[in-house]
């Protein structure tokens, strides 16, 4: 699962439980979250299915939703490895019997989501909170059930006439190809037969304070650019700033720039999820787009039409999905891209 999504989940949980403490220890700071605010964050589905909303979805409904909202990135059969390793594939009937996917043990084998998945709740929860990538949290509960059913059917975990509901999720769990595959006895890398890290949560008497014993040597400091500027502005990880000594510049980079309504619109409309100002994300950098059409008078109208209808082929074969925005807003966005980048 995405680190980003996990991080958000942890952050949300943290928000809720530190609230009471904040109230008493720091009077005047913050306020108690309203039940509605908590409910909006509290969407996680646990392995024991606590948090799973009622609903139902058939494989065939899932197929239709998948074609409309997911196939452009993941392929019609979940087979595409263009954005992300395949969602479906590599599981066999024997794996379903054993609850352990044999191909995972083979080195070099492409690993699909369905091969690795050990909890059906994780798949449901992930789709519900994070997909489609360009419009998360827009699916109804029934659609999430249907999509989950479709993915399971493509892996022959459930038959084509199957209807997934909150009541039969537990039965499906018992058929997941890798349900017995979860191990905690490994690190990110194996070194000399032992995991490199094996962390246990520790709350008290956890041993000596860590001490920094070595640092990036000076000659290597800039080799990947200004690390601080490349990290998200949230979370504990900042990276080394190369602009230390010029704190004013760093502060400018960190603080949100002065409000620009066109930029806000781009952010709100999800454009920035795929387009960085200077970096390629899923789509080309905005600066690249501006540079390409700098001396092209007819570009504005053509690009408005392109963003409206979506398409591929100009920058590669990754498609841009069509936009639901009004013509007026599209024009504002395209002008903003072309004139200020």
């Amino acid at each position: 699962m995405s680190r980003w999504v996990k991080w958000m989940a942890v952050a949300a949980a943290g928000l809720v439980c530190t609230q009471a403490a904040a109230q008493s220890r720091y009077p005047g700071v913050g306020r108690t979250a309203t039940p509605a605010e908590i409910a909006a964050w509290d969407i996680d589905v646990r392995a024991d299915f606590k948090g799973l909303p009622p609903g139902s979805g058939s494989v065939s409904r899932g197929e239709a939703v998948w074609e409309a909202k997911c196939a452009s990135c993941h392929g019609s059969f979940g087979e595409s490895n263009m954005f992300f390793p395949p969602i479906i594939g590599g599981t066999r009937a024997e794996d379903i019997v054993r609850g352990r996917v044999e191909a995972l043990a083979r080195p070099g084998e492409q690993r699909s989501t369905l091969m690795k998945l050990s909890q059906i709740s994780t798949l449901w929860d992930y789709i519900n909170r994070a997909m489609p990538f360009n419009a998360p949290k827009t699916l109804t509960a029934d659609e999430v059930y249907a999509l989950t059913a479709y993915i399971l059917n493509q892996g022959d975990v459930v038959p084509a006439n199957f209807v997934l509901t909150e009541r039969n999720m537990a039965e499906v769990q018992q058929r997941l190809p890798n349900r017995n595959g979860l191990t905690r006895d490994h690190g990110l890398w194996e070194t000399r037969g032992r995991p490199d890290v094996k962390a246990f949560a520790c709350m008290a008497n956890c041993g000596p304070e860590p001490r920094i014993v070595s640092q990036l040597p000076d000659h290597a400091r800039g080799s990947h650019g200004d690390l601080a500027a490349q990290n998200r502005l949230i979370g504990p990880v900042r990276g080394v700033s190369l602009t230390q000594g010029a704190p004013a510049a760093a502060a400018v980079a960190a603080a949100p720039a002065a409000r620009d309504p066109a930029r806000d619109l781009a952010e709100k409309s999800g454009c920035l999820a795929c387009h960085g100002a200077k970096q390629r994300v899923v789509g080309p950098a905005l600066a690249e787009i501006a540079a390409k059409y700098r001396n092209d008078g007819g570009a504005e109208a053509r690009l408005v039409a392109k963003v409206k209808s979506g398409g591929q082929g100009v920058w590669g074969n990754v498609p841009m999905p069509p936009s639901q925005l009004q013509e007026q807003d599209l024009r504002t966005l395209v002008r903003w891209i072309l004139n200020t980048h």
């Binding site: 197929e63 074609e67 392929g75 019609s76 059969f77 087979e79 594939g89 493509q154």
Partner: protein
């Protein structure tokens, strides 16, 4: 026997769009295994699709196509509820046919 193909056929404005995912190793015959031995070539050599007995696609393939090939094509004149049959044959003479109902 090889795993079944996944086939999806949908009709829109008189044009049937067919998407096929085949399950096949597609060994090129150029690759060596861990012991340094050549892995024998094993790849799909011909693919055809028929609608009501008429061939709507016929293709000759070779070892340059990747493992588990994905194929998409369209043809005119198909009806909802009818079947499309896709067949492949590989260089070892192994064959597989699967069908899908147009929706």
């Amino acid at each position: 026997m090889a795993d079944p193909m996944r086939i999806r056929a949908t009709v829109r404005d008189g044009v049937v769009n067919v998407k096929v995912l085949m399950s096949h190793e597609m060994e090129t015959g150029q690759r060596k295994d861990a012991a340094g031995k050549l892995v024998p070539a094993h790849y799909i050599r011909s693919v055809s699709a028929t609608y009501q007995g008429k061939t709507v696609l016929s293709a000759q393939w070779g070892p340059a196509i990747a493992k588990n090939p994905y194929l998409e094509f369209s043809f005119k004149g198909g009806q909802k509820g009818d079947k499309v049959v896709v067949t492949w044959e590989d260089n070892k003479g192994e064959k597989r046919s699967d069908e899908a109902t147009i929706s």
